[in-house]
Every structure is written in C-alpha cells, then in structure tokens.
C-alpha cells in the first residue's frame, strides 16, 4: 500500500483495500483532498487490512491509562499478571511476536527485551488498529501488527486539550496537549502525570498484587515545512515510571522487603521527506530509543523508618537498552501500480551489561525490502514483496509475502495472504548467562523464531454494516527451548489457528462492534499433539442521544478457559486459566459546544480481578494438578470521573 492509501486509511476508517464501492469522482476528490497530507504524513507503507480498531473514545470509556491497559481491550489478546510480570499474548504468540508501531515506527525496539507497557501513555493517541498478517515492509514481529496513531497535526495558531481523571481506586491521571502552528512550523506538545493506586493482595494487608505506579510523560511533535515538497518531522516521547511493590511484613519482625522499579524511556524520531517526482516520494527517517529499567530491592524497618538497598541478586534484573534505527525508502504511487523499495538499518545494545565475559551485548541488522501492488480494474489486487534481512549474529533471512484480494461483487471482498516474519529471541536468552538469570545458559547464536502465516478473510460491506470473517493460521518454528544441557536451542514449534467473525454496525447515533474468536493453540507441536481451544466474545457499543449531549457506551469481553502447555526438563506442563468476563460502561455529557466533557465510567463491573491458574503435569494417560496460582486479570471495580476541556 502506498502513502496515499495509508493517509486515506487514517482519515477514513479503512475498510477495503479495493475501493470498489467508491465512485471515481469520490475517490479523486479524496485523493485531491488528501494529497498534501498524504505526502507529508509520517505513515509508513503498510498494508491496512484492519481486524480491529480502538478509538480514543473507547480508550476513555474503559479508563485505559497506559498501553498495557489498552491492549487488554483488544479482541484476541489475553492478559494476566502473575508476580511482577504481566503477560499479554495472542494464542501462541507472545508480545515478542506482535509488532507494536506508533505512527509507523517501532515502539518497543525489537520487542525482545521485555518492555514494560505501563510506561507507555495512551492519552496522546487518536486510535489504534490491529492488523492480521499485513503485507508489510516490516519483517520482524509482523505476524500481527498493532498500530498506534497520534492525532494529526492541526494547522491552527493555538489549540489545547486537557483532561483529568480521578477514580475510586485513588488513581489520578492528568494531561494536557498544546498545539501551535504558523503553517510553516507546527509544534504539538503533551504533558501528563498518571498515578495508579496499588492493588492489594487482601484488604488490610500491606502486600500488593500490583504496585502503585506514578508516571510522568512529555511528548513533543514538531513539523517544519521546509519547501512545498519537503518536510521535516521530529517527534519525541519521554516517560518516567516509578512502581512500588510492597511486600508483606516479615513474620515476627517490623521489617519488609519491597521491590521498586524506576523506568525511564526516551525516544526521538525524525523524518525528512521529499517528493522527487509526481508519483515518487523519498523518505529518510530514523529513531533513537533509550530504555533504562532499574529494579531495586529495599529493606525497610517499619519501626525506625530506616531503609537500605539490598544488593543481593535475589531480585529481577535491572536492564537497559539502546536502539538505533534508520530507513531510506522510496514510494511510488500510480493509478494501478504502486511499489516501495528501501533499506533499513538498526542496532540494539545493552546499556546496563555492556559486555559479559568479554562479549559485547549488542547486535545489528540491515535489510533491503521491496513491495509491489497492482490493481486490475476494481476487482483484483495483487500485492507481494520480499525482504532480505541480515543479522550480525545469526545471518541472513529472505522473507517473502504475497496477498491477493478479489472483489467479485460490489459489497464482497475476499483476500488471501501468506507472509513470513521473524522475531528475535529474548535478549536474556541470547546474552545473559545463568549466573545473571539464575536459570538457563544463554546462546548468543540463537536463531530468530520464524512465523509462517496464512490469512484468509471475507468482508461484506454495505452502507450500514461491515462484517468480516476469516482464519488466521500461524506456524512458528525455531522457538527457543531449554534442552537437556540446560541451555537454549531452536527446537520449539507451535501452531495457532484463530477463526474470527466481526461486525461493525454504525450510523450517526449508534456504533456497535461485536466480535467472536476461537483460538486453537498447539504450543508444543514438536513434542505433543495437544491443541487447546479458547473462545472469546467481545462487544463495544456506543450511542449518542440526540439533542441532549449525552453519550453512552460499554465494552464487554467474555473470555473462555484458556489452556497453554510448556516443556521443562522433558516434562510437559499444562497451565489452565479459568474464564473471565470484563465489562465497563460510561456516560458522557458534552457542554459548551462540545468543548467541555464530563464523563462517569465504571470499569470491571463484575469485579473479577483474580482468577485461578492451575498447573498440571501431563502424563501419558492423565494429568496431575501440581499448583494453583491466582492471577490478576483486572483491577477492582472502579468508578472514574473525567473532566476534559478543549480549545480547538
């Protein structure tokens, strides 16, 4: 897909890759209207076969304050917190295999470092989208892509948006977005402070299930229109997150052992774009990204108040990484043919353990990519491409992708896509020896996991309702697994098949988006035939009551029992998590010509916060329960009030 299409997809909710329904005049008008914005937009040349879209209003509805909480709303994704770690996954794919992009740039480096998603604010987002197996210029982690989009630059001398949310859980989130523009220079800046109260294991106890968190954010966006055909974009995201996990009081003493986390993230993006011909755009863009995640174990005497850092190794590792990314890309966009070619360089290095045993903890990769799309009349569109990627540690990979889209009738579209993507092994699996992790011996030459994906989709689209159904089949190979020498090797295989159906019914007053998915997951295709099925139903609905300024909305997720399996010491374990249901609702009242918004929301209406996660040891004929843990799936039922004011 070219820049122009991508821009269209931002301005108009993307529904089809083949613009069959639109008249030529309509298309031309839109092309004209968007040509400037499209040309200067930061959007990368990505396919936009969107499975799901979460709008800002829905993020507000569910009171999601960071990316971790926003991902918990997305159909297909499951999330739970156990200990200090939050796991988010889509069937057999964990977050290291799901690309997350913000305005087209990698948000979590190569996704192999265990990024804490609590540190990423969502108050600056306009919406986010989920794509299944898109034809993408990205190769890493692109089996599923979650794209985050900030709001477009506004050509206004001054505008402002501010919002404050206060909840019954002692949370307080405040942010302000300011914009200035003189047509040549445009500056948008956002400041935020977010405090999330702790969730305690039991009322009256000191120990927390999830620690209290305080985050400060400062985001900047600057656009400089150098020439009519040349533009410089600079963006910077900065956050500082502090989390305090409290322990229980040690028996017989007045002492506690708390774990504090302080995370600093700084991103700087830059893009220089120029139109080199009527149909060609050349873009040079890059990113510098630094993450520092300090974990400290604190001994504290609650009698004297004295506290000291405990320097033993009995705590999660502190980590920190630097990431550099640069891309040169040429886009060509013509009536029927469009293509993208380019080069990409990236480097990831450890800034906490720069070398271990004389080995530098870093790797780099460079890639050459090319994608082409051809549309024959309004009924067939072919897209395909390949990417040659070379990793400094593990060598080269050639990754093809192909997609065909047919529109046999005006309201019907069928597409089939095949793509291959890789995801690098976790950084600690590759670089950290057992003396650091206390676990398994690392292997610096671990290969990436390779995901082969087939996605078939049928879309029906008419004026009132859009519906789509499809099957996403992912076969993963070379998954790092512990071998008998207690080191990692690329022997794991898994398969996941997700069948989904979704509807989008919307008119001026009502929007209803139900979806249903059934995941069939085989985590251990290399050793066992266990395939587990896990259903889920999601519904997002919003309604506007005419002439009252009142909006109503709710989001419901109903997740079935979810079972996964894992191999350890040649034994197969099954982890079975009970089903859960999460329902949030809100009412919003708009005043003063839509400038002031007052909203009252309630999240987790069923108050389901902990569910059992049973671990079984599988044997030849049966399985034996060996452990039961309580996982956190949501915060307690919380009422929130939000006041937002905008000067636009």
């Amino acid at each position: 897909m070219d820049e122009l299409d991508q821009c269209l997809s931002i301005i108009v909710v993307p529904k089809k890759t083949v613009p069959h329904l639109k008249s030529k005049k309509h298309i031309l008008r839109k092309l004209l209207f968007c040509s400037c914005l499209a040309f200067f937009s930061l959007c990368s040349a990505e396919d936009s076969t969107v499975f799901f879209r979460l709008d800002k209003e829905e993020i507000i509805l569910a009171n999601a304050q960071n990316l971790e909480e926003a991902l918990a709303l997305i159909p297909g994704l499951s999330q739970y917190t156990l200990g200090l770690e939050t796991n988010t996954h889509f069937s057999t794919l964990d977050l290291s295999q799901i690309a997350i992009l913000k305005d087209g740039y990698p948000l979590l480096m190569d996704q192999n470092i265990g990024y804490d998603l609590q540190s990423i604010p969502v108050w600056d987002l306009a919406y986010l989208e989920v794509d299944f197996s898109p034809i993408s210029t990205l190769a890493k982690n692109s089996t599923i892509i979650i794209r985050l989009y900030t709001r477009e630059f506004l050509d206004k001398a001054f505008w402002m948006e501010t919002g404050v949310t206060n909840t019954t859980n002692n949370d307080l989130h405040a942010n302000v977005l300011l914009g200035f523009s003189n047509k040549v220079h445009t500056l948008q800046t956002g400041l935020g402070r977010s405090f999330t109260g702790a969730v305690y294991n039991l009322a009256g106890l000191r120990s927390t299930a999830t620690g209290g968190a305080e985050r400060y954010d400062m985001n900047l966006q600057y656009k400089y229109r150098i020439l009519k055909s040349m533009e410089l974009n600079i963006r910077s995201d900065n956050s500082r997150l502090e989390v305090r996990n409290k322990s229980s009081i040690l028996p017989g003493r007045s002492r506690v052992q708390d774990i504090n986390q302080q995370l600093n993230r700084n991103l700087l993006y830059g893009a220089l774009k120029t139109q080199v011909s009527k149909n060609h755009t050349l873009t040079l863009d890059g990113q510098v990204h630094r993450l520092k995640n300090e974990i400290t174990l604190i001994d504290k005497d609650l009698h004297s108040g004295k506290a000291e850092e405990n320097l033993t190794n009995e705590k999660p590792l502190s980590t920190g990484y630097d990431y550099g990314y640069m891309r040169l890309k040429l886009n060509a966009s013509q009536k029927r043919l469009n293509y993208t070619i380019g080069l990409e360089l990236s480097n990831t290095s450890d800034n906490t353990y720069k070398t271990i045993n004389g080995i530098k903890n870093s790797y780099g990769d460079y890639a050459a990519f090319g994608h082409i799309g051809y549309q024959y009349r309004n009924t067939v569109k072919l897209q395909g491409g390949t990417r040659l990627i070379n990793n400094s540690l593990t060598g080269s990979f050639l990754l093809p992708s192909l997609k065909i889209t047919l529109a046999p009738q005006e309201q019907l579209e069928i597409s089939g896509a095949y793509s291959q993507a890789i995801s690098y092994p976790l950084f600690d699996q590759q670089f950290y020896p057992a003396s650091l992790t206390g676990d398994v011996t690392n292997d610096i030459l671990l290969s990436p996991t390779i995901n082969n994906t087939i996605h078939v989709k049928l879309t029906i689209d008419n004026a009132l309702i859009t519906g789509s159904t499809g099957i996403l089949h992912v076969r993963s190979a070379d998954i790092p697994r512990t071998n008998e020498n207690n080191s990692y090797s690329n022997t794991g295989k898994s398969t996941s098949t997700t069948t989904y159906a979704s509807l989008n019914f919307s008119n001026k007053y009502i929007s209803i988006k139900p979806s249903a998915l059934i995941h069939g997951s085989n985590y251990l295709r290399d050793t066992s035939g266990f395939t587990f099925f896990h259903p889920e139903i999601n519904i997002l609905a919003q309604a506007q009551i005419p002439n009252t300024g009142l909006h109503l909305g709710f989001i419901g997720r109903f997740l079935g029992e979810n079972t996964s399996s894992l191999l350890s010491d040649n034994l197969i374990y099954q982890e079975e998590q009970n089903g859960t249901q999460q329902l949030s609702a809100y009412v919003k009242y708009s005043l003063f010509a839509d400038r002031l918004h007052l909203s009252l929301s309630v999240t987790n209406i069923y108050d389901e916060r902990r569910i059992a996660r049973n671990t079984y040891l599988a044997n030849e004929v049966d399985r034996e329960l060996i452990d039961t843990a309580q996982t956190i799936v949501a915060k307690p039922r919380t009422y929130a009030i939000r006041v937002a004011y905008a000067i636009l």
Binding site: V164, N166, N170, D171, L172, A174, V176, R193, F195, G197, A198, R206, G212, E214, R244, I249, P251, G252, R253, S254, R255, V256, D299, K300, D301, L302, H303, S304, G305, K306, E308, T312, E314
Partner: protein, 333 residues
C-alpha cells in the same frame, strides 16, 4: 488562567504513594534451655517459633554419623563415656580376644587434620566423592554394667549416601556388616552397639530446629580457660556448645550493640563465617567465685542470608544433679 494553574498543581501534587504505617519495635522473646548430663543431652530450638523446642529423646547411642551431603564425620557419645582406639590394623579378624585391651590408650576423640570436630578422626581419604576408607580397625569402648564393653569397628566404605561398616565383639561371637543410609531430613544418624541397630528419633528433623544446645567434647589444652564439666576422665573436656543447623549456619559475634538496640541493618553488615558448632560461647568462668557466668554483652548473630537472628544469654544456673539452665533472649531481625 490562574485558576487553571492552581487546578493543575492540585492534580499534579495529589494522589501519591501511600506512606507506610509505623510498627512497634520487634519483640525480644525469651526462652530457657535446660540440659542435663545424664538425662537430657541436647535441646533443639526453632528460633522463629521458640515454643517449638525439642529435647533429645535418648542417649542410648554410641556413634553419630554426619548426614550432610559432603560431610562424613563420625562422632562418639562422649557424654556416655564412649571411647575409641585406632589399632592401625586393617585386618578385622586379627583384632580378637587376644588383643591387649588393658594397654590400650583410650581416646575420647581423635582430631582430624584440620583440627575440627572431635570424632574418630580421619577414617578415610575424603578427596573422593565417595570417601575411600583406610579400613583401620577401631576398638570402641563404653561403660557396661560391670566393666567396660569393647567392640571392634571397621569402616568399610561410604557410597551412595550411606556409611558401610563392620563391627563385632573381640571373641567373634558377633560379627555384623551394616549399611547406614544418610537421611538428609536429620542432621545426624545414630548407631547403638548395645542394641545392634540404628537408633531412631534421637533428634528432631532438621526442618524443625535451627540451633541445638548440647555438650561438645574437646581437648583441655585448647580451651584451658574455659569451664569444663569433669564428667569423665580428667583429660577430657566436655563443654556446653551449640550445634548449628546447616540451614542457618552463618555466624557473627558482636559485643558493641546491645540486643535492644540492634536491628537488621546493623546485623547484615557484620562479618559472617560458616560454622557447624560453637563452644562455650555465652559463658565465662569467674575464677573468684568459681562459677560459670553468662556474658550478657555478647550477641550471637545467625543468618542464612535472608533470615537474621540475634541471641543473648541472660542468665545461667547450674545444679548439683548436673542440670544446666540457660535463659536466652532471641530477637528476629
């Protein structure tokens, strides 16, 4: 605009981390350890739960075997006057009823080369994973009803977590070979020649105790300034000592800070050494009053790296019937 600033400041400064509640000072717990030279050889304490204390269930044993994975020490029941002699012979049958036991120089312990732990000495080469026995034949003696009983003992082997030994009477009327497996639930395994069997339940499981107050024997010359209990021949010293559970065996001793004032932060910065046993730690011998007294300034710190305990002896009394009572203060840090 000013009102917006105030509102912004209000929201930025509110909703913060909750401060911790203050708690009262850690309590100092007190317990009493009661030992008797004939009736109760050992008292076991769980420091985190002082109500869980156990007394030794019996003294009817002669040999005590280390159960620790890499420990192969064999000890004597010195309090029951068990003595030993190394014949240096490796031929079991050559030590018989004609052996001149009257001329034997009995020892109540034979120190190992590293000078630690009174035992039957170095009975093998411990540089191997499974020690290679020198196969020396020992004579073991203990007081009988009429005269001292004498048995012969030969350590044959030690492997697969078991001791393998042969024992018998000098006249050959009894000749037995036995495997004594290491049970890692217990600190020691016990054997009695009298009943010809492994003695059970002499001590509680390791998971139930942290320290054991007992009598430990050692040479007089090494500890001539320390009080001793002349329960045996004059040349043997038998001291009040502490056996440490291997799960809590890092030790520091301090006299600078009182038990009332000490805390975790002070304790964790002390220099710790791994020990298996401590001799006459809390006690001093007042030469003027000819009495054993406790040093109340001395604090014993024990840790396993995560748990810390401070222990002080606050009082000591001794009665004519061989009963020794020590009052202990224990603070968990």
């Amino acid at each position: 605009m000013r009102i917006y600033t105030y509102i912004s400041l209000l929201f930025l400064l509110s909703a913060c981390f909750e401060p911790d509640e203050m708690l009262p000072k850690s309590k100092i717990n007190t317990t009493t350890v009661r030992l008797n030279t004939s009736k109760n050889q050992a008292a076991y304490l769980s420091l985190s739960e002082l109500s869980r204390s156990y007394d030794s269930t019996g003294s009817d044993w002669h040999l005590r075997f280390e159960n620790e994975t890499n420990g192969w020490g064999i000890f004597l029941n010195t309090l029951s006057r068990v003595a030993i002699h190394n014949t240096k012979s490796t031929y079991f049958d050559s030590v018989n009823e004609y052996y001149d036991v009257q001329q034997v120089e009995w020892q109540f312990d034979i120190s190992t080369s590293d000078g630690f732990t009174p035992a039957i000495g170095e009975w093998g080469d411990f540089s191997f994973t499974n020690p290679k026995s020198f196969k020396n034949v020992y004579l073991v003696s203990w007081p009988g009803e009429l005269s001292r009983q004498v048995y012969k003992l030969q350590i044959l082997d030690a492997k697969n977590g078991s001791y393998h030994f042969r024992y018998g009477t000098l006249d050959g009327s009894l000749d037995k070979t036995i495997w004594l497996p290491k049970d890692e639930q217990y600190r020691f395994g016990y054997f009695s020649f009298k009943s010809n069997e492994i003695s059970k339940a002499i001590e509680p499981k390791k998971s139930r105790w942290d320290v054991c107050f007992t009598f430990l024997s050692d040479s007089l010359s090494k500890r001539e300034n320390l009080p001793y209990l002349p329960t045996l021949e004059a040349e043997i010293g038998l001291y009040q000592g502490i056996l440490l559970n291997e799960q809590l065996n890092q030790v520091a001793i301090d006299t600078l800070v009182s038990l009332e004032d000490t805390d975790f932060f002070y304790a964790k910065n002390l220099p710790y050494n791994k020990q298996k046993e401590l001799y006459s730690l809390f006690y001093t011998f007042n030469k003027d009053s000819r009495k054993i007294e406790v040093n109340t300034k001395l604090i014993l710190y024990l840790t396993d790296g995560s748990r810390y305990f401070a222990i002080r002896a606050s009082n000591f009394t001794q009665s004519q019937d061989g009963t020794f009572i020590t009052e202990l203060n224990v603070k968990q840090l």
